[in-house]
């Protein structure tokens, strides 16, 4: 009897926390890891220009996929509480080339992890750290490509969704805690095939944590982060359902010049694909050009991509993530993420 009570206790302890309304964000604390939640990521994308005039896109993401909730039994150092993995991609716009790499680690010996003195996340040589001036230092490299960047937020952090959570599906907990720094001044160096150049540009930082935010009926999403040249930004997402529809729990945020965010409900915007590209590698067909319309803001935009092939073909988590250009009444650039096209995304 005793042991049953004990195991029940352990079970209660050892379960994941759901992202429920009412989360109070505190910075810089919330930049750190939220181990009580199952899934978490730190997402950096940006457009950089080199002195030579060349344009690059980059993506560096640190993922934490929880395996066992905190407090789970076991003392072996090898017991993994989470899967630590990271993606690094570079788009060489002028050459029309895309490059991507994944690192995965158990982190049993501290070679990968989240939240030590200074670093928010790291895997071997890839790392994300806070800088003293409230910015970030980002490093990733591999196969001759590398970024070593300093990023400084030009606006405050904007919290997405309503009441502290960004709802992804119907029902309590099918949501994430989600904030962004929508415009970070970025400087540093970028290497392509060992050739290093000084670069400067603008980045976007997303930090999101959740537990089982997706339902089995959802297979992925379309997500946009757009930096308009007028100093405003737009984040939009659509949760895609198995039957080909869009989940009503989709939303967006419009960020004003002063950094304040405006919540955009599902019916406040529309997204219409206008061109498709079929991946030779995975066979997935991605909608790579869109018509974006936010009538309340008077926004009528068309997105396209300078490089069609910006697919991270990584087996079970294959997705398209790449630099886009924005035209229309206003111009700008951004990143687009298309998931669940090669295979439904599960377990997030």
């Amino acid at each position: 009897m005793m042991s049953r009570a004990a195991s029940l206790f352990v079970l209660l302890l050892a379960s994941w926390r759901l992202a429920l309304p009412g989360w109070h964000y505190r910075f810089p604390e919330d930049h750190g890891v939220h181990r009580a939640f199952k899934t978490e990521w730190w997402y950096f994308t940006g457009r950089l220009r080199a002195g030579s005039g060349k344009t690059y896109g980059y993506q560096a993401t640190f993922f934490r996929e929880g395996v066992r909730p905190p407090g789970s039994p076991g003392t072996s150092r090898f017991l993994a509480d989470d899967i630590k993995f990271a993606h690094f991609a570079v788009t060489d716009v002028d050459a029309g080339r895309f490059f991507f790499l994944q690192k995965t680690s158990r982190g049993a010996f501290g070679e990968a992890g989240f939240g030590d003195s200074g670093r928010l996340a790291w895997i071997e040589g890839w790392s994300l750290a806070e800088t003293r001036d409230g910015g970030f230092a980002l490093k990733a490299d591999g196969e001759g490509k590398a970024v070593d960047l300093l990023l400084k937020p030009e606006k405050g952090f904007v919290i997405h969704g309503a009441n502290g959570v960004s709802q992804k599906a119907e029902g309590a907990g099918h949501a994430s805690c989600y904030y962004s720094s929508t415009r970070l001044g970025t400087t540093g160096r970028l290497s392509i095939n060992g050739k290093s150049e000084a670069v400067a540009g603008e980045s976007w930082f997303d930090h999101e944590w959740a537990t089982n935010s997706l339902t089995p009926a959802q297979i992925g999403w379309n997500w946009f982060s757009i930096q308009l040249d007028d100093g405003t930004e737009l984040m939009l997402y659509q949760m895609r359902t198995r039957n080909g529809g869009i989940d009503p729990n989709s939303s967006g945020t419009f960020v004003l010049k002063n950094g304040s965010g405006e919540y955009l409900a599902r019916d406040a915007y529309s997204l219409t694909p206008t061109a498709f590209w079929k991946s030779g590698r995975t066979g997935a067909t991605y909608p790579i050009a869109w018509k974006v319309s936010v009538p309340s803001l008077g926004l009528e935009l068309e997105t396209s991509t300078p490089v069609k092939e910006q697919e991270l073909a990584l087996g079970s988590i294959t997705y398209w993530e790449g630099l886009i250009e924005v035209r229309g009444k206003r111009t700008g650039h951004g990143y687009m993420e298309l998931t669940g096209y090669a295979k439904p995304l599960g377990g997030m």
Binding site: S76, R77, F78, I83, A108, F109
Partner: protein, 835 residues
Amino acid sequence: MTSQLFVLFRRQVLRDAMRHKVLAALNILSVGLGVGLYLAIQIANHSANRALAAGVDVVAGKANLEVRGDIPEALFPSLAGLPGVSGCTPVVEGVVTLPDYPGEYLRILGVDMFTNEPFRTFDIGSGERPFELERWLAQPGGVAVSVEFARKHGLKAGDRLRALVNSRRKDLEINFLLDPEAAVTMDHVAAMDIGWAQELFGVQGKLSSVQMIVSNPQEAKLPLPPGLTAAPPAQRSFQVQKMLSAFELNLTALSLVSLFVGMFLIHNTVSASVARRRVEIGILRSLGASRNEVRLLFLGEAFLFGAGGSIVGIAGGVLLSNLLVGSVAKTISSLYVLVSIDRFFVSPAHLLAAAGFGLAASLAAAWHPANEAAATDPVRALSMGIRMEEKAARVNLWVVAGFLSLALACAASWLALKTGPPLLGFVAAFLVLFGFVCFSPLLIRMLGGAAPKEVVLRLAAENFRRSIHRNSPTVAALSAAIALVIGVSIMIFSFRNTVDVWMNRGFAADLFVTPASNETIGLEAFVPPEAISFLEKQPETLAVDTFRELRVPLGGETAPLGVVKGADRRNLPFVGGGRKAKMAKFFGGDYVVVTESFARRWRKGEGDRLSLATPGGPKEFEIAGVYYDYTRDEGLIMIDRKAFERYWKDARVQSLALYLRDRGMAEGLAERFRRRFSAQGEFAVYSNRALKQRAFQVFDQTFAVTYVLRAIAVIVAALGIFLSLTTVITEREREIGVFRAVGGSRRQVGGMIFAEAGFIGVAASVLGLAAGCSLALVLTFVVNKAFFGWTISLQFPWPLLAATPFWIVPASLLAAWVPALRASRIPIAAAVRAE
């Protein structure tokens, strides 16, 4: 072969073989048995080697360097970061038994899916449930079993398995199915996340091995703490095979005896066929056939038997190996290393060797009669009435050969013991066997010279003596087979008695306790401390001795180290006596004692020093004494527990021996212990008597294979009697005809043949007993000593020896049944046509 010779071959040999179908079949069968037995043993040995090598391969995968020992896990990142290392993965290994599947076990590899990708030799996630890293990492006790294992037991992903680990029950759940690459087939291998494997086996902080891919494995100098070794994984399978080689060679040698016996039969058949066709040979020769052509004809006949026998033997050997493999695997598991042979490996080389042996033996056996045929003088061959029996004069030559062979056997024995190689022991055994059978002509002449009053017996004795050329090989074959039975029986009997005496002295405790899994998988599991303290506190208990075994690096290899508490009560029998002084040393300081087989294998003796790698660095231990031990031919170093804990800082034990106030209390205490700790059979608890019984069970299992080998040798020999008498009758057709014509009855003819068979039986028994006793000497004192380093006190199973003629003679008579019947039915008129 010229076309002309081929025609001759067809007419003379093939047609003749067709005419004497039974004879030909028997010859083929006798070669077939020998070839089959040899092949079956080779397949069993080879399959065992492959299974063991696969065990190494499945752990090491594609690694070219492997670090082994009691590895602190923190070493792993520093090895992975060394220059020149392109792959590095940690492994935790352990074995669990499955109480729901008696006798079954799983060798669990704790692997790191994040780093082992370049090493992997298996796919995890075949079948309906594909691999998912998250499930793999998340599930406590999640284990991937092989597709074969799952199929065998009707298991699927999601099923639960109860396992015993260190006498504790653990729940496992099959998370995925594991599909080994074709080259690596091990049904008992299972994989688990390394973290869960550490938890399962309670080895947090430790690794069993680190597998590495380095640019130059031979030159790699790794900064390793003391006690750890780095070597290419292939070296480990090489060491295992080296350990088994003596055992496997023994089986091979025994399996060849049947072929040796079969050779006598071929010799007999071919010489009979020479005798039968003396006239034809004469005609052929006078028509211009050369001596060589005649020789080739008869060698061709032998070739026919050899080829036929090889085909039969290869088919039979493959079948027979199915029967032997289980027994061989059990013996290897109980004596050397845990192995289960799940696949048969038949290499073309073994098939070729088997066929080669069959052909070579047949040709060698036919060489002498074929030469005789070639030497036949056409004139004498064509004149009727001259018989072959004049050859009897060669008896003395054989006697000389016999003595020479025995003298050589002595020399070979001496060399085997003094200088080696141990293989000379088998040469000696063969020479003894051969030496004794050389005396068969002499024995036949002596026995046949006895002149009993009774007319049938007298005629039989006379025939027995006169057909010395035919009966010698028969008696030789039979006596060789008997000698094998007797020799091996005496050796096993002596061995068993020696072990019995040794166990009575050495196993003085009243109760023995060990985790049950140790019975299936060898000493792997530990006794939990609470079980020890429980037993120590019981009122019946006088003392609790403990034992633990581990492998320690020694001179580039590893050797087993036994850690004992209370060895004084074990009463170790030392070579050269002096127990008190040696044991005092053993308990007093940095001393070890070693077994006799260890001393032989490592060429170390009393007073020598052994440098053992302790976790704190190498440490010298002096050998306080060498003691008799029959548990393993690999040998054992024994160290006192106090000394061990001083340097190894490890107090775990694997088995307990309890001394009680009264042996009668053993059952009661065992029952209480079982109720408290072993409700689900987590422990094996043996009383003194039960342990001895169990030890003998293992002992007898070890020799089970030899019983098969002996039985087949006797069957071949019995075939020999049948064959020999059948030919003798064909040869004597005329004579029998005359005997019947002058009034001999059918009964008398039959009786004569029976009596002759009896003479063969008696002669073979006498010779076989003498040869068998001598063979036992060689097996016990030379082969055993040279290969395994065991001292066995020779003892004779007198009743068994005395009984030999009582089963050999009836067996001979039984074999004579059909020939006697045939002889009595020979029609007189046809038989005496030539007179």
